[in-house]
């Protein structure tokens, strides 16, 4: 039990994620979490506005079930399988974040400076979540997949488009952290 309660090392977590990808393929499906955003658009009636959403979303209910499970899994892991919940970040990361104005780095899963009620109710905090979410939703469909579809499934099946997409993920991520964060925070 002690091993489960501690954070899991990367060499355990990585292979387990590959196992999840493989079992979904074994079930005749795919490991693609961002597809659910498209499905949710279709359920909301988006096909009236674009043919992109004209598909039988009922055939995607299995994937929404994975999402439901993921929410439950998140609840179980955080509330019953984690002690402590602190994240053992590198010292350099903690001090870099402190310079940017992030206190208590690693004491929570997500920083209070962005995700707490107070932060969300401020215009800047609200805009960070809105813009961040929009870029994720827009970019993932433009690129035809996200971390699960490209970085895990696509790279595991040695597909060049996925390698290009992952390089794109890093271009965007590095620009945000190294060039935009110093202005934003």
């Amino acid at each position: 039990m002690e091993y489960i309660l501690q954070p899991w090392p990367w060499y355990i977590s990585g292979p387990l994620i590959a196992g999840i990808m493989f079992i979904l393929i074994y079930f005749g499906k795919t490991f693609g979490m961002s597809s659910n955003l498209k499905t949710l658009c279709a359920i909301g009636g988006a096909s009236k506005y674009s043919d992109f959403f004209k598909f039988d979303w009922r055939a995607q209910r299995w994937n929404l079930t994975v999402v439901l499970g993921a929410v439950i899994g998140g609840f179980i892991a955080h509330h019953f399988l984690s002690s402590p919940t602190d994240i053992n970040l590198s010292q350099q990361t903690v001090s870099d974040l402190s310079v940017l104005g992030f206190e208590n780095a690693g004491k929570t899963l997500v920083p209070n400076e962005i995700y707490s009620c107070d932060a969300v109710l401020s215009i800047r905090g609200f805009l960070i979540l809105i813009i961040g979410g929009f870029l994720v939703g827009f970019g993932t469909r433009y690129a035809g997949g996200c971390t699960s579809g490209h970085a895990i499934t696509g790279l595991s099946s040695l597909q060049l488009p996925s390698l290009i997409a992952v390089i794109g993920f890093f271009i965007g991520g590095l620009i945000m952290i190294h060039l935009i964060f110093p202005i934003l925070f």
Binding site: I4, W10, I12, S13, G14, P15, I17, A18, F22, Y26, F27, G28, K29, C41, A46, Y49, F52, F53, T65, G69, A70, V71, I72, G73, G74, F75, A77, Q92, T93, L109, V110, P111, Y115, S116, C117, V120, F126, G132, G133, V136, G137, F138, G139, T140, R141, Y142, G144, C146, T147, G149, I152, P161, I164, A165, F170, I171, G172, G173, I177, I180
Partner: protein
């Protein structure tokens, strides 16, 4: 209902693994893009390494329906992947969550992530509207 149960179980396991691996943490994503820890690279690296082996072995077996294993193929192209990928990367680094973790974080009690999810749905909708006008 029974046919969905296995997907629910896979989802629960996925949620647990991503929380226990700390991949759902905003801080781990920041640290990764700062190249200050091997943790996230270790996760992605071992996931891809194991994934390559599993798919190589899996190709020789049948899936649960008795059909050959079908690995989804991505369309050829460069532009959409580099530009779309970069847009995704900007959002990933800012919000610290990609489309799996954002749902899992709701389960951990970070309800403000719901705002991000709503906005991600909007982003996908806007892509659908503009799809035919965008270069791919």
């Amino acid at each position: 209902m029974a046919k969905y149960l296995k997907f629910l179980v896979v989802g629960i396991f996925f949620g647990i693994v991503l929380v226990k691996s700390e991949a759902v943490s905003w801080y781990r994503i920041f640290e990764m893009f700062k190249f200050q820890s091997f943790h996230m690279y270790g996760i992605i690296g071992t996931a891809v390494g194991t994934g390559i082996l599993l798919l190589l072995i899996g190709k020789k077996t049948k899936n649960i329906e008795g059909k050959t294993i079908n690995i989804p193929l991505k369309e050829k192209g460069v532009f959409r992947y580099i530009i779309g990928g970069s847009i995704f990367g900007l959002g990933w680094a800012l919000s610290g969550a990609c489309p799996g973790p954002m749902y899992i974080l709701v389960g951990t009690g970070s309800f403000s992530v719901l705002i991000m999810i709503a906005s991600a749905i909007l982003g996908t909708f806007v892509y659908g509207l503009l799809k035919n006008k965008l270069p791919h």
